[in-house]
């Protein structure tokens, strides 16, 4: 439980962090809330030589509406997301997801950006970010690069971030029509991570589904969009039969994880059941 020796640098600004990252390259890791990185270091699974801490940079922590989008700074804590009035009104999926994440201590320190960049296959945020069709803004010495959520999660613990890039912002497009959202999760009894986590964002117009975003985490080596479920919903009335039939496709075409707690078979079942339940909740919320 004692990490290997490392240097620590508190970056003064985002540009400072980017320049430090350029200097130390693979020896360095960016430190956000530290809730994934530090435990890994204590177990000596990771032994970075340099930590570049973003926590002193004030302008990376915010939640605002701008240009028809919701913008969230990468260093915004889970707790800030969970308790944001703006998000509870404009994008309740995010506060709901945050409320399922870790425990109060983790939510107080951990950040949305840190979690996304870690790309844990059982983390909660990826499901929500995929369901919302978010954009992730990475900055490097070359300036900003916009990465679509569906391109961001490459594989287990690997994202589309290039060397030298730092995630600085998450952008959520504003929903159209009547929007209903939900996040539902089976918590692993030890870790609290998602055995299955399903995030749903539906927009409904005239009783029919206009758009559907469904992100699923915990099921496969990386979080994914359940595109077959989405296409089974679009343009249809959201009755029980449609939702059930659509949800059956929750784990179509993905490699399903198997571990001590849940076999692949069981996980597939949980994915279908939780997708249906999340759809039902989201559809009912859209109707209100």
């Amino acid at each position: 439980m004692i990490p290997a020796s490392f240097d620590y640098i508190a970056a003064k600004s985002l540009d400072d962090a980017i320049s430090l990252l350029g200097k130390h390259k693979d020896d360095a890791k960016i430190l956000a809330g530290g809730h994934s990185l530090l435990p890994a270091m204590k177990l000596r699974l990771m032994q970075p030589k340099v930590l570049i801490d973003l926590s002193r940079i004030k302008d990376l922590s915010y939640i605002k509406e701008e240009g028809g989008q919701i913008r969230i700074g990468a260093m915004t804590t889970h707790f800030q997301v969970e308790t944001s009035d703006l998000l509870r009104r404009a994008c309740p999926l995010l506060p709901e997801t945050a409320s399922h994440l870790g425990d109060m201590q983790v939510r107080n320190k951990g950040t949305i950006g840190g979690s996304l960049v870690h790309s844990d296959p059982a983390a909660d945020w990826p499901a929500a970010i995929l369901a919302l069709d978010a954009e992730l803004i990475a900055k490097s010495t070359k300036g900003d690069r916009v990465i679509k959520a569906s391109d961001f999660f490459v594989e287990m613990l690997t994202t589309a971030l290039e060397p030298g890039e730092v995630l600085r912002e998450i952008r959520i497009p504003a929903g159209r029509g009547k929007v209903g959202q939900a996040y539902m999760k089976v918590r692993h009894p030890a870790s609290g991570f998602a055995v299955v986590g399903v995030a749903v964002s539906l927009s409904v117009d005239g009783g029919k589904c206009q758009s559907a975003g469904i992100g699923i985490t915990g099921v496969s080596p990386k979080a994914y969009r359940a595109t077959k479920v989405e296409s089974a919903l679009k343009g249809n009335a959201l009755d029980a039969k449609t939702l059930g039939a659509a949800a059956a496709h929750a784990a179509d075409g993905v490699d399903v994880n198997s571990d001590l707690y849940a076999s692949a078979d069981y996980r597939k079942q949980l994915a279908a059941v939780y997708t249906r339940r999340a759809l039902e909740t989201a559809a009912s919320r859209a109707g209100k």
């Binding site: 177990l43 001590l260 069981y266 079942q269």
Partner: protein, 780 residues
């Protein structure tokens, strides 16, 4: 006359006086001990479950700046073996050296220790030690270990069988022959990790001039640990001072003597400087004892009316690779308690105890008794299922009546007192059992899976008479009244979360007519407290508390004599109440206990033959164990689609005899039920086929958390124990003993429409879902 009765505190739910310092982070644990010039130790532990050590190269580690010394098994040969205090006839005891010498036997086996200026340097140096291993075949399954074809762990024995033991009385074969039905079932009690919140830790300091070694260690048994470590180090016992500061939980895992305790003492002597080691959680999971670990086969015979005629339990008991302090004794406790709260004329347990390439098992909350209760309660349910009877009816049929106590079992015990019907009736009433069964019928019609589980248990507490214990079953107390009237209680029962600082002060308050806050309870320092045994086996109050009570009686006798002297009356006429001595022979006068104490210390006028001071000690030897009991009821509803278990209700009626502090009783029952839910639904130490510990962190090993558990509806009955003057029985382990079968029984009951009669723990949702899926396929 005119005096108000001082309010009695015994029986009142008084808040724990130890809590403010704990809640505010002001308490001192081993890790809070920081001494000048202190060095730090870190252990290199085996990464293999079974391997021969060909070579250890410590050169690189020694070169690391800050490293003071690196010791391997060759260096520590003079340290005596880690002790085992239990003896079974013909058992094979492997010599348990403090560091592995020729072979490693389990993942986590200590191979070398680094002593360094900082804990960081010590930990870094561990990575620089190069061990050349020859990996050997592994056996992890306790049943397969008995197979002569399995790899042999301790070659000198030529077998992995540590011992075989048959226990029990009565003619089991005849009982089975007389039975209308015989039911057999394989039943598992898997390995569990105790996981005290505070891991182990040791600080050692040696003064060469005084030749005095002081060890601060997180233990439940300070004196027994002192004796053992002194023997291991070959030093006079009275030159070793052992101090247990605050102990953050033990659950039996600190009822032990560990290699690290002796190594740290030895290392401090070598270095001439204090040395500290604090166990990490990963080490805690690898190298602190585990509990349970039984693969059992139960066979129960019964008449058609539900009368049990005989019970047989054949069990493979997992020892791990070495014996720790009580390892081989744990299955014998299972054997003692197999009768449960039933009249069973013939009982036989056949144990095959085996060595496996895993950490040692030993006492974990309940220690052998939860296994027994689980076996007999599952068996009682199986009888009910076989006969198509209500599980309550089968239990009632076999209960001894309250007037049959002391009740002799076919396991050789005398149950002290009991009213099993009373606790059962109360619990059934709280649950509204008849209505629950109606609800269940309705639920089943609707296709819902609802289950009701019942456990009626009895356990064995207040361990125990010395004749039945490896190293003394008595307990000690000294009570002093200081010149200012404050009361000092020294107890040998070193608590680690049981609230004895409060409950012992309550006993003193009522006996002396002082307030609870007037007493200070001192424990856990062998230089201050008289020899004692420790806190385990639900004995803190029912043995240690009784010792306090006994010492108080002696103290009061002396105080009474002095009071008579002060009142100028005959000692026989003195009465003591509410802290005041009076006599009908001197109606206008009284002396308080405080005045007596001051007079005893000033010693200006004492009766002839009376020594100054006011202090008394008791070394109390209990006549028998005590046998608390109760009924637990769990109600579950299963999510058919996911196998999720929703425990809607949990009802427990426990009878632990006379309660000194009902709030402490509640706390103990709560904690115990939580750990029962852990065993029943979540917890399992998993080693893979190579002996690698799969559940090596708390990200993998699932401890129950508050949000995962239902509300507990608790009540009690109170059947005093005739064994001791307090009438107290003990309650520390009741929850882990009584609850597990009820939880499993509820799930089995919910799935009984599918013909399910037993499911092994931990019952995971997937297991339940697989059962539902298998049985629903093709069903309407």
């Amino acid at each position: 006359m005119g005096l108000t009765m001082a309010e009695k505190t015994v029986g009142k739910p008084i808040k724990r006086t130890e809590d403010p310092r704990l809640i505010q982070g002001l308490a001192h644990y081993v890790d809070d001990i920081r001494l000048p010039d202190m060095l730090h130790a870190a252990f290199l532990r085996s990464i293999h479950a079974h391997a021969r050590i060909k070579k250890i190269d410590v050169t690189a580690a020694l070169k690391l700046p800050g490293v003071v010394a690196v010791y391997t098994g060759k260096d520590t040969q003079k340290i005596g073996a880690v002790p085992c205090g239990a003896a079974i006839p013909d058992m094979k005891t492997p010599e348990h050296k403090v560091l592995a010498t020729n072979k490693v036997y389990f993942v986590g086996h200590p191979v070398a220790v680094v002593v360094a200026e900082t804990k960081f340097a010590a930990r870094d140096a561990v990575d620089l030690i190069d061990v050349d291993y020859e990996v050997l075949p592994v056996v992890t399954d306790e049943e397969k270990a008995a197979d002569p074809k399995s790899p042999v762990i301790h070659e000198q024995f030529g077998t992995n069988i540590a011992y075989k033991l048959t226990a029990g009385e009565g003619d089991v074969d005849a009982g089975m022959k007389a039975a209308d039905k015989i039911i057999k079932q394989k039943i598992l009690n898997k390995r569990l990790a105790p996981i005290a919140m505070e891991p182990r830790g040791v600080v050692a300091r040696y003064f060469p001039g005084e030749q005095e070694l002081t060890l601060w260690t997180s233990t439940q048994i300070p004196h027994l640990c002192r004796t053992s470590v002194a023997v291991m180090l070959g030093m006079p016992e009275n030159k070793l001072r052992l101090i247990t500061p605050e102990v953050g939980g033990g659950f039996g895992s600190k009822l032990n003597v560990y290699a690290e305790e002796a190594i740290l003492g030895w290392a401090a002597m070598q270095a001439g400087r204090p040395v500290k080691w604090i166990e990490g959680r990963r080490e805690n999971l690898q190298a602190t004892i585990h509990g349970r670990g039984q693969v059992g086969y139960v066979e129960i015979g019964c008449k058609n009316d539900g009368t049990i005629t005989a019970l047989r339990y054949n069990v493979f008991a997992d020892m791990g690779s070495y014996f720790q302090l009580l390892t081989p004794a744990i299955p014998t406790l299972t054997g003692l308690m197999l009768s449960g709260c039933y009249k069973i004329p013939a009982i036989q347990m056949n144990v095959v105890a085996t060595f496996t390439n895993k950490m040692s098992t030993d006492a974990y909350r309940g220690a052998g008794r939860p296994e027994a209760t689980y076996v007999i309660e599952r068996a009682a349910d199986l009888v009910a299922a076989e006969l198509g009877k209500d599980p309550v009816e089968v239990r009632r049929k076999n209960f001894p009546q309250p007037n049959e106590f002391p009740f002799k079992t076919a396991t050789g015990l005398f149950y002290d007192s009991g009213n099993y019907q009373g606790a059962l009736d109360k619990a059934l009433k709280m649950a509204d059992y008849t209505k629950l069964r109606e609800e269940q019928k309705k639920a089943r019609k609707e296709g819902r899976l609802m289950g009701i589980g019942i456990s009626t248990y009895v356990e064995i507490c207040a361990l125990g008479p010395s004749s039945a214990m490896p190293a003394g079953g008595w307990e000690s107390a000294t009570v002093r009244i200081e010149p200012t009237g404050k009361v000092t209680i020294l107890t040998g029962a070193s608590p680690h979360g049981q609230g004895e600082e409060t409950s012992f002060a309550q006993i003193a308050a009522d006996e002396l007519g002082v307030s609870v806050n007037d007493s200070t309870v001192i424990h856990g320092d062998t230089a201050v407290v008289q020899y004692g045994i420790g806190t385990f086996g639900s004995r803190g109050l029912a043995v240690g508390g009784v010792a306090v009570y006994m010492a108080l009686q002696k103290l009061k006798t002396k105080a009474g004599k002095l009071a008579a002297h002060m009142l100028g009356v005959d000692a026989g006429t003195v009465k003591f109440a509410d802290g005041k001595f009076t006599s009908p022979a001197a109606l206008s006068k009284q002396v308080t206990i405080q005045e007596v104490a001051l007079s005893a210390h000033l010693a200006k006028s004492l009766p002839e033959d009376m020594e100054p001071g006011l202090s008394a000690s008791s070394f109390y030897e209990p006549k028998n164990f005590t046998f608390p009991f109760g009924t637990h009821i769990a109600v579950v509803e299963i999510d058919r689609e996911t196998g999720d278990l929703h425990f809607d209700r949990y009802i427990a009626v426990d009878d632990c005899g006379k309660q000194i502090n009902p709030m402490l009783v509640h706390g103990q029952v709560h904690g115990g039920i939580c750990q029962s839910f852990g065993q029943a639904l979540f917890e399992e130490v998993v080693y893979d086929e190579n002996g690698q510990l799969v559940t090596g962190t708390l990200m993998d090993y699932a401890l129950p958390k508050a949000a995962m558990l239902p509300h507990f509806q608790l009540d009690s009955t109170e059947t005093p124990s005739p064994v001791n003057p307090l009438g107290a029985k003990g309650v520390g382990e009741a929850g882990t003993i009584g609850a597990t079968p009820a939880i499993v029984s509820a799930v089995v009951d919910a799935l009984s429409p599918f013909g399910i009669r037993h499911i092994d723990m931990p019952i995971k949702p997937e297991t339940v879902w697989q059962i539902i899926r298998k049985n629903s396929a093709g069903a309407a």
